[in-house]
Symmetry: C2
């Protein structure tokens, strides 16, 4: 990277810091107005966005990218409509900045509360899907932050076109265009420079494959919110409704096998293994899911292949599932602690006490009773939209929406009180 | 440091991780019982603790430590009584682990909530005051965490004796002694080893001088919650009650000049400068506080020395105050943004609209209207006790109590819901 381009990246970070001071002080109405203007600009420029996306798609075909990747990359009129709808719903969501929480009056008459405020400057580093550019920009603006958007090279033209619409919208609402900046180079070195801008950037959120996320967190001097992978479990307890268990296991595995909240391992209680394992293996086989089981499973149904130690920690992101018979609730929890990723675990049981124990003793970021792991998602959990998922416990744990992009300050109101 | 002692430090970290799993799963009643047993053990062993403290004090005298440092180091029967009272009040405080928050029912019938859980393993790295050993241990245990305590060399014997009482209390309640471990060496290299134990330690909290805190945050591979310094401001607005302003400025500066929430700079609105600056300079002079002012201040009262640029960013921790005349609310806020440390700022004003603006536009971690900056303290703000203060916005901002040592997981309860 040339010295000029290095300086350009640093200037992006400094401009973000300056813009963050303006956007933080703006009233909520102005930030919401900016979101509406962004939606308008996206619609007006949809032809240009689709043309830019076409460039990216031609490159993707030339580079022989997989059809799944090409699908994620593609923008159509319908997809742009969905993206603008999401922006509008973020505009309409309850305001965060300036919200007063946890009021109390102290014995000395001081009135104490917390007021929600923005974090400052967020850097998003992500791959392929261009809709992240808009979702992230919209959530950061809603929360009063500035954002630096550094998407993947395969979506470079699309991201530039989307970023253009965001600038137009911000300016139309009287906010600085630098509130949301798309980094105009996909040179990898740009990421390293951003990750060293400690004075200008408050938080880095990487989204993409485990490789990208590890590289970002190893290099960053700035706090990183992340999850490496989702090795999610469904534990079918001895007192489970077996039809419900089949339906949840199937949905958790195959509804979208390529995402982080898909199940990778089904744990079956020994008490029902003889009856349930064969039914489960048959169900999976009938829908084209490869089952890799422990020896007990393989004995119970010949269609299961023998799993090895590595399988228990693998995020397949594919139509493959591992299957293990466990003694009881404690062994299930032990397996989850040994091999899980703190993402999402579900139990299927009709026993309320067992469900309660599972909820208390499993400390993954989302814990589910009698429902699919696929609900571990900001939208499904009522956060409105999601900027990422954290599997580390500092600041945010689990799906993270606009509120995760804020913090609170203490406010104290008195009548002249001094400390004695 | 020898290989054996390096391995010993790593084993402390691993033992803390193992203990953290046990203490996290224990019921709240058992953790509270441990706190009570610790209070009992402290009382029973007060003679040994005071004898150990005597060793430290003799060393301190031999090393010619300042009388202020010796005072901070000293433990007496009364101080031990205060420490045990604090532990008992933490035991009686509302429980955190397992607390359910923000319940909601989704349109598909899923019942969503958040459940509070411990962070895991905390490492405290601190200087001189031995009461931190007990305060930190008690807050970490209350929140269901394990803690590694690494105090300063000047309190080594006292900290060992206090740690002994903590172990006795934990064991008496059936919890592992490794839930709270005092590092048995004051070799500086031990800190570096702890700061590299990423897999075993979740959070580092340094407390002490700016030098210690900078050294810890530069070296740590683990997230650090910290504040470097407190350059706190009192802004006396044109519509202030001047008697109240004098009383607050004095209290903020001299109630305890050596602590981080003491005021360092008083900003005076030009509208009242002619009347108020001479009164303020006289008040400070009469109580032995050196005033360093901008040229306008010096013209208004000859007792003020001329401040230089460096003064505005200095945390004096002493009976020195800087004083500046500002044009209006905006210039006051601009000064705070340019020179402040995001710790605590106060305004004195009778104008509610101005107070409201100050509360919204100043994003320091504690913002105060018509009261002393000295209230920026966990106890005074109703947190029960304080483990530290954060001036960075991730995870915690401002004074941090036991709740700051926890996070929340999402819990989801359904009746067989799958994702469509």
């Amino acid at each position: 990277m040339t010295e000029t381009s290095e300086e350009m990246i640093r200037e992006i970070a400094r401009a973000a810091r300056r813009a963050s001071r303006v956007v933080a002080k703006a009233p909520n109405s102005q930030r919401n107005q900016a979101l509406v203007e962004i939606a308008v600009a996206l619609r007006k420029s949809s032809a240009q966005i689709i043309a830019a996306n076409q460039e990216d798609l031609e490159m993707a075909v030339a580079k022989n990218l997989s059809s799944a990747m090409i699908d994620r990359l593609t923008l159509s009129e319908t997809r742009i409509q969905n993206i603008t709808d999401a922006v509008c719903s973020i505009a309409k969501a309850p305001d965060l900045v300036g919200r007063i929480e946890r009021r109390q009056v102290r014995p000395n008459g001081l009135r104490i509360a917390r007021m929600r405020i923005p974090l400052g400057v967020i850097a998003m580093i992500y791959e392929s899907r261009p809709n992240v550019t808009i979702d992230a920009a919209a959530l950061c603006i809603k929360a009063g932050n500035a954002v630096i958007l550094r998407g993947g090279s395969e979506a470079a033209a699309s991201n530039r076109a989307l970023g253009e619409a965001v600038s137009v919208g911000l300016l139309a609402a009287g906010l600085p265009a630098e509130t949301a900046q798309v980094v105009p180079t996909t040179d990898r070195a740009a990421i390293d420079i951003l990750l060293a801008c400690e004075a200008e950037i408050d938080l880095v959120i990487p989204r993409g494959g485990e490789g990208l996320i590890r590289a970002v967190s190893e290099k960053s001097r700035i706090p990183v919110i992340k999850h490496y992978k989702g090795v999610c479990h469904v534990y079918v307890h001895a007192k489970a409704d077996l039809e419900m268990a089949l339906s949840i296991a199937e949905n958790a595995k195959v509804h979208r096998p390529g995402v982080c909240n898909a199940a990778e391992t089904i744990l079956v209680d020994r008490g029902i293994a003889q009856e349930f394992v064969p039914r489960l293996v048959e169900r999976f086989s009938s829908i084209g899911v490869e089952v890799r089981g422990d020896p007990e499973t393989v004995v119970l149904h010949g269609a299961a292949l023998l799993a090895n130690e590595e399988d228990w920690g693998t995020e397949y992101l594919d139509r493959i599932v591992s299957l293990r018979v466990v003694d009881d609730l404690s062994s299930a929890i032990k397996h989850i602690e040994d091999y899980g990723s703190d993402h999402t675990e579900a139990i299927v049981t009709a026993d309320e006490k067992v469900a309660e124990k599972f909820l208390h003793l499993v400390n993954s970021s989302t814990v589910v009773v009698n429902a699919s792991t696929r609900f571990a998602d900001g939208g499904e959990l009522g956060l409105g939209a999601e900027i990422g998922i954290s599997t580390t416990r500092l600041h945010a744990y689990g799906p993270m929406g606009a509120e995760g992009l804020t913090t609170t300050k203490f406010i104290v109101e008195g009548d002249g009180q001094i400390r004695q």
